[in-house]
Amino acid sequence: MEFFGLFEYGFFRNAFSAAFLMSVTCGIIGTYIVARRMVFISGGITHASFGGVGIGYFLGVPPIAGAAVFAVIAALTTENLTRRKVLRNDSIIAITWSLGMAIGIIFVYLTPGYAPNLMSFLFGSIITVTLADLIFMIALTATVSLFFMAFYRTILYLSFDEQFAKTRGIPVMLMNYLLIVLVALTIVLSIRIAGIILVLSLLTIPQNTANLFTNRFGGIIIGSIIIGFLSSVIGLYVSYVLNIPSGATIIFTLVVMYLSGRLIKFVA
């Protein structure tokens, strides 16, 4: 089937829109995560959200809502415990990470019958994105974009040197908590695309590809959005044509893009 012919299908239009929205959001949030070296924290938040998926199935509420609640709680807890140096930072992450997974596994097991779409939470399924998902994605993309546009300098400077930003009167703690909540929500909505297992790649591979060509924070954001969007659309199309899983194909495309970037840099 020819690429543009696919737009006649509602599922493809939804998938295409989701790819665009999440590329923008992941481009911005991923750059923040990568610059601040928060990739591992994000991994913890991602996996902790599975606890919410399990409880969602068990209680019969939308698993994605459960995931959002768990992700935000995990994010705030990790941030708070790290600040207070209650435990080593990476240990806190490992605990939230596995605790969330454990809760998820127990509640999925306890749920009578079978848990529909469980695999799509683990591996993603951009072709089953619904109108409701899209509405949440639009809201999140708008919030993240506006927040970063309004506070771009503040976010950049406080990420570089938090102590200094504090001396300049920036409400550093408030900003950190707001940002980690946006990170958590971005992860949850990206799970629709790539699943819990693969989602981190959407937030890191485009950034590292863009980073091959620019050292500017803003440049990495723009580059990641473009790379993320191209990879999602190419991955989506290839997965449709070859009839293979979309999430994994998108990740594979991202890696190919990264390697091509390296090659271009090497040759140029």
Partner: protein, 247 residues
């Protein structure tokens, strides 16, 4: 008369209940130039953090007669991630932040000011480099530029001479001396010998703080102050080393 800027009174401070500074009092006045010396782990950086309001003392008071935003700060180099995607120009610009939105509002208009400051520390040509592409000394100059761009009334410098070559170290102290005509300076250094000609008084910090209202200090006084540091004088070898005394 009332040229007081900050007063610390009987401050005890530290981290997670563990005391680093005990019963510390210090007054900083307009045009002071205080050299802060002391052994590693003595609490010099902690003293600066208390002054800047970055940590709250366990007890005692810090009284500000100037706004906290009128303090320029050059942190001890160590905690920076040199792969962070930020340019020299941007780092210096961050010195102009005064609140949550100020960076966005003023960015265009302050380029001239940034270039002027970069010129004064000799790194204007590097303004578009990202910080990962700087030498230690160039990074230190960037941090100095960031500290002074807001025209502070008090400048707080935590070992600004780390990584800096001799030539810039002399230049640095000349810049500070000039700045000291209009503002006060608190300078942490391990090298009392080199800073001695520039400073006006000395604070010895080793858990407790002993204020010494002169720019020269003898080994005997350091001993009395329980401040075990080397008195290093460039070009004069061998160094005299003072033995550490435990109370």
């Amino acid at each position: 008369m009332n040229n007081l800027q900050i007063e610390l009174k009987q401050v005890t401070a530290g981290y997670q209940g563990h005391t680093v500074l005990e019963d510390v009092s210090l007054s900083i006045r307009h045009q002071d130039f205080i050299g802060v010396i002391g052994p590693n782990g003595g609490g010099k950086t902690t003293l600066l953090r208390v002054l800047l309001g970055l940590i709250k003392p366990f007890s005692g008071t810090v009284h500000y007669h100037i706004s906290r935003k009128e303090i320029g700060y050059l942190p001890q180099i160590s905690q920076f991630d040199d792969q962070f995607p930020i340019t020299v120009h941007e780092v210096v610009h961050s010195g102009l932040l005064t609140g949550i939105r100020s960076g966005v509002l003023k960015h265009r208009s302050c380029n001239a000011r940034i270039e002027e400051i970069l010129d004064s520390v000799g790194i204007r040509a590097l303004q578009n480099r990202s910080i990962g592409e700087l030498s230690g000394g160039e990074l230190q100059r960037t941090m100095l530029a960031r500290a002074i761009i807001s025209s502070p009334r008090l400048l707080v410098l935590d070992e600004p001479n780390t990584y800096v070559d001799n030539k810039f170290e002399i230049e640095l102290y000349a810049i500070l001396k000039e700045l000291n005509k209009t503002l006060s300076i608190l300078l942490v250094s391990h090298d009392i010998g080199t800073i001695s000609p520039y400073i006006k008084s000395i604070a010895c910090v080793n858990r407790r703080l002993h204020y010494h209202p002169s720019n020269e200090i003898s080994e005997e006084q350091l001993k009395v102050y329980n401040c075990p540091i080397e008195i290093i004088s460039h070009g004069q070898i061998p160094h005299r080393i003072i033995k550490e005394h435990q109370q």
